[in-house]
């Protein structure tokens, strides 16, 4: 075992250091085909509002290996594990949250990639990422997401990998057709009741007793398998793609039914279901030096929302939904790069009675501005992200300062500030403002 570990480390260091005319030494061919790398991070967060206390003391480790058999075949495996000592350090969180978030060891990737001419196939546990914009999920619809820490972690950490078959066929130069099929219908992972970033639920006000059923569907199912395609083309600098994806809604929708219990009042049963969605969309990006413009549109046909309308039999209404964004990246003075993004969610129908955070009405508008720069040859990198919900004025402000100590070691201090009403996307975390400190070592 120890020998294997040494070989892994040697392979990782060899891969990282090889450059220019550096001699590669007597490393055997089979070992050259192996690449190992990883990182270890310590994440600390302190909640500013009452009770001011530590809210994260997380130690994370990632280890990834790739073995290249030939130009046409390789296999890649990646794992991630973490332990959050905040649950041992405080007693603020209930047991169910501790069980759910204290520790985890997860297979993040296990992919066999095969290529033949213009065909590539990737089979196994993976992330399949569609879309042009960063920090948004408009057409990033294939993988479910882990929202237990809201949308604050990196997006590769938010995506939950799935078992899937992903094939690409280059139809012509710069024209690619990609097909995806998966029997893995894993849902979004939501925080448990009492968690730091627990979402506000629907504002039901029942007079009757209520029973909420667990969300217990099998995550692997051939009958409920999902799939779709993406056609991408690059012409005259316009980078365009069309997508279609058929999936079960990854966020549960609470359907209601009344169960008579004579002589007692009816019991209201809330049953989480995942209605089928047909998502049609397109993306476009174009560089007009030194500016980049990008846009994404997704129409979710069959989208359903909970309603507080007592006249509705199952407490759920269908509202096909259009999500789109328009973004522009541009350079400013003093080497500052800016990115401005406007996004809207438009419901095809009345939004009265819908109470889901993130849906403020028939039209929900969000404006995001990100500024980044680098000092001292990019060893000190400040950035700030400001996102505001236009209708209700709720916002998130996340400044961050990254310090590159060496080629392997980085430290970052930052803050996440939320403001707004209790039933708004960012305002629901109004009391969760925090400062963060992160150290990352890569090898």
């Amino acid at each position: 075992m120890r020998t294997l570990l040494v070989l892994f480390l040697v392979a990782g260091l060899t891969g990282a250091a090889a450059a220019a005319d550096e001699p590669e030494g007597d490393v055997p061919d089979w070992l050259k085909a192996l690449r190992v790398r990883g990182r270890v991070a310590e994440e600390f967060a302190y909640r500013l509002h009452d009770p001011g206390d530590v809210s994260k003391l997380k130690t994370l480790g990632w280890l990834e290996g790739k073995y290249t058999f030939s130009e046409a075949a390789n296999v890649r495996v990646a794992t991630r594990g973490y332990y959050d000592a905040v649950f041992a350090a405080t007693d603020r969180y209930p047991d169910n949250v501790q069980r759910n978030q204290e520790k985890e060891l997860e297979l993040r990737e296990a992919i066999l990639t095969l290529s033949h001419g213009d065909f590539d196939v990737r089979v196994g546990r993976q992330q399949i990422v569609w879309g042009e914009a960063i920090s948004t999920f408009v057409t990033d619809v294939v993988n479910p997401k882990d929202f237990r820490e809201f949308v604050l972690p990196d997006f590769t950490e938010l995506r939950i990998p799935i078992w899937a078959l992903d094939g690409s066929w280059r139809l012509a130069r710069n024209v690619t057709l990609e097909g995806v099929w998966t029997p893995d219908t894993t849902h979004n992972r939501l925080p448990k009741k009492g968690a730091e970033f627990q979402f506000q639920g629907p504002a039901f006000q029942f007079r009757n007793p209520v029973v909420r059923l667990p969300d217990g569907e099998d995550e692997l199912s051939l009958a409920r398998s999902e799939g779709g395609f993406r056609l991408s083309a690059l012409r005259e600098g316009w980078d365009v793609s069309l997508i279609y994806y058929d999936e079960a809604d990854k966020t549960p929708v609470l359907f209601q039914r009344r169960v008579p219990q004579p002589p007692r009042p009816d019991v209201i049963v809330l049953e989480p279901r995942h209605p089928r969605l047909h998502i049609v969309g397109f993306t476009v990006a174009k560089s007009v030096e030194p500016v980049v413009i990008r846009s994404e549109v997704a129409v979710s046909v069959g989208k359903r929302y909970e309603t507080t309308d007592r006249g509705d039999a199952d407490g759920v209404v269908r509202r096909d939904t259009i999500d789109y964004l328009i973004g522009v990246d541009f350079p400013l003075v003093w080497d500052v790069d800016g990115a401005l993004q406007l996004s809207q969610k438009i419901l095809t129908g009345d939004a009265g009675g819908l109470t889901r955070p993130g849906v403020q009405g028939q039209v929900t508008t969000s404006l995001a501005l990100r500024l980044t720069t680098g000092f001292f040859d990019n060893t000190l990198n400040p950035s700030v992200l400001f996102v505001i919900g236009v209708e209700r004025g709720d916002f998130r402000l996340s400044p961050r300062l990254e310090w590159v100590l060496s080629g392997s070691l980085t430290m970052a201090v930052g803050a996440d500030v939320f403001e707004g009403g209790r039933r708004t996307l960012y305002g629901q975390f109004d009391r969760n403002d925090r400062v963060t400190f992160t150290t990352t070592w890569r090898f």
Partner: protein
Amino acid sequence: MCKAALGLLLALVVVSPAAADEAADIVRDADNYRRPGESFVWKINITSHEAKKAPSTDGFEVYVKDRGRSLVKFIAPPRNVGRSLLALGRDLWIFLPDAGKPVRIPFSQRLVGQVANGDVARADYSGDYDAKLLGEEIVDGVPCHVLDLKAKTKEVTYAGVKYWVAKDGRRPVKAEFYAATGTLLKTGTFDGFKEVVPGRVLATRLTLADGIRKDKLSVLDYGGIVVRDIPEKYFDKNSMKSLD
């Protein structure tokens, strides 16, 4: 006076295309010292120097095909490993492991030190610039053609380049890179000429100095050169993640 003007006009009409052709030929010949073949892989070490600071080194592995298509993998230091750049003509994407997908970026954006994305992703001035022969000068004892290169489109790293190419052998000697405003951005010198591929001499070092602060230097060392056919998947943005 009128005859003289007419003569001059005729001379311009007749001579200019030939001069432009010669200028284009010179740039094309000089490009051959900056690329070992039509399809090849090389490694580039970029060492950034600045007064009172320890130099830092970044490593890249670059896959190039068909003048204008290249994939640049970041191989050192560890904090950058996993990133890659894909250039298809004048379109450029970066793959960031944190985002998990390729993202469109401009060519002129700074990569590291004094080096722009286009400095690494493209080694082809003849495809990007229209050339005009300005005259001749001696640079460090080497008689050179002096050329004025103007960007063919706005999607090129620099708006203009003043280019010195040796008269003997037409190897690149020096270049000044300008913004659209006419500001000198940086100066480059080519050296380390070696026969790294049989029958082909290449410039294995390009030194870029900041246009204002001359103490800020980036040295690009080219090595590990392999001329071979590279599969098409290397130039498909949808494959960037799996090629990491």
